[in-house]
Point group: C2
Chain length 309, copies 2
Amino acid sequence: MAITVVGSVAFDSIETPAGKRERCLGGAATYFSLAASFFTDVRVIAVVGEDFGKRQEAVFSARNIDTRGLERAAGKSFFWAGSYMDNLNEAKTEITDLNVFASFEPKIPAAYGDSEFLFLANIGPVLQRRVREAMPDVKLVAGDTMNYWIKDHRPALLEVLKGLDILLINDTEARMLAAESNLVRASRAVQAMGPQTLVVKHGEYGATLFQGSGPNEKSAPGTTFKVPALPLDEVVDPTGAGDSFAGGFFGYLASQKEQTPAAYRRAMFYGSVMGSFAVQRFGTERLQELTRAEIDARFDQFRALTHLD
Amino acid sequence: MAITVVGSVAFDSIETPAGKRERCLGGAATYFSLAASFFTDVRVIAVVGEDFGKRQEAVFSARNIDTRGLERAAGKSFFWAGSYMDNLNEAKTEITDLNVFASFEPKIPAAYGDSEFLFLANIGPVLQRRVREAMPDVKLVAGDTMNYWIKDHRPALLEVLKGLDILLINDTEARMLAAESNLVRASRAVQAMGPQTLVVKHGEYGATLFQGSGPNEKSAPGTTFKVPALPLDEVVDPTGAGDSFAGGFFGYLASQKEQTPAAYRRAMFYGSVMGSFAVQRFGTERLQELTRAEIDARFDQFRALTHLD
């Protein structure tokens, strides 16, 4: 089943202990689309500037990603520069130039109308809500957000959360959104805001799926599921790890006829698999050259890493 | 097979967001012994003062823990006071009174001589080494340490590491010991110091078992294993969680005829199971009243939390 994704397509300049890259292709919608494209059809909605050329376009077409919703505007594409020199777990943003993104008004091509799955990548909640409302008939809606929107655009974000089935955020964001330091209690508070499924990402410690009220002595087992991150002896560039996780997770879910509890558990594995590939090279380099056989082999590696037998 | 454990038996005064307790029974050897006693015979070596009475003794005898190596000395028992008010993940130490522990010289009862398993809980490396050397014929030796010994008693600690099969430490300690921020590379460096098996504890994010060089595209799978911590909606008191993990882990290993890779994986689960119980009440309260049926039920909960099928 096809996924429509709305989010940023951008150029990133990145510095990490492993080196530097200038203006490589990035943006949440780019990482998400590439990761999800290994599982299902992906259709992207975003805006780019005149600096987005044939080379960048080819990255999408090589993975059969539908770019009819990729609007070209006069000016420059979204640009971000960041550094991980102090801390591989958190980017220090040096430059954010919204450029053509500042006046972005998402338009949904008629050909996207039959998408059953919708992903609202990390952009302003007002834009997220507009796209959500323009696609009322989708079967499953997932979304992401970030500390900036949680802190300074809370009312608009709360409106978006009401329309989400699944929210993917990191632990700091979950705790901030719920104003609660215990993660189990925070997840319950976030679920009460709308999304019945919450995926909390822990960076190098993996991710937790919360569905229902969480495992304690009173609750039924299986409503919470944990997947680790792959222990890697070098993290080259953490940029896009969370978006790649979301792409693997939601892409796998969308590829399944029914979204059963077992499908959600496997989706968590595929999320962590795609995140583990993303960080092994700069930008989207590793995702661009990836094969399905490599994905399956790494899935088995995750099983060996976590399963008793 | 019997485990001999050397370490502290102490009184702790603890403050957490859930409340306060004055002078409850604590100490690394106490938590370890109680947790391990659900799996195998445990023999303790420690020193206590005149304040250690019948009530404390009864906690050990109720779990059939051999206390013939529990020396009584004139003076007061080891006393620790700490607070978790700022951060549930890290104790702020307010008082450490070594008392009778200051002049402790471990003596090993003849009856402990046939122990096949030895656990060196977190005490000074000079004492750890003395006990290790007095029991040269044990089958498997595991140990713990802490930032203080790593920083200020490194040469003595390095001597201890040479005699260990298994080291259990937390991530900060592993990174400090190896002087390396990447955990996979840090674990390799620590393994090169002696212990072929390294268990790195991540607090609320679980623990990782490293045996061999770790999973990457070149290494064999199964040499690294991850277990999460149980997501709990209330952590009452984190004191002793790591020692309880060690007791469940090493206790289960000692209960097995052969320490196979599958036994190590199950031992990781039992470690996290015992840690999850320890933090649900103050001090050793939860471990004292625990049953094997509760342990088995929680083991199944960990399986549901991590396994695909």
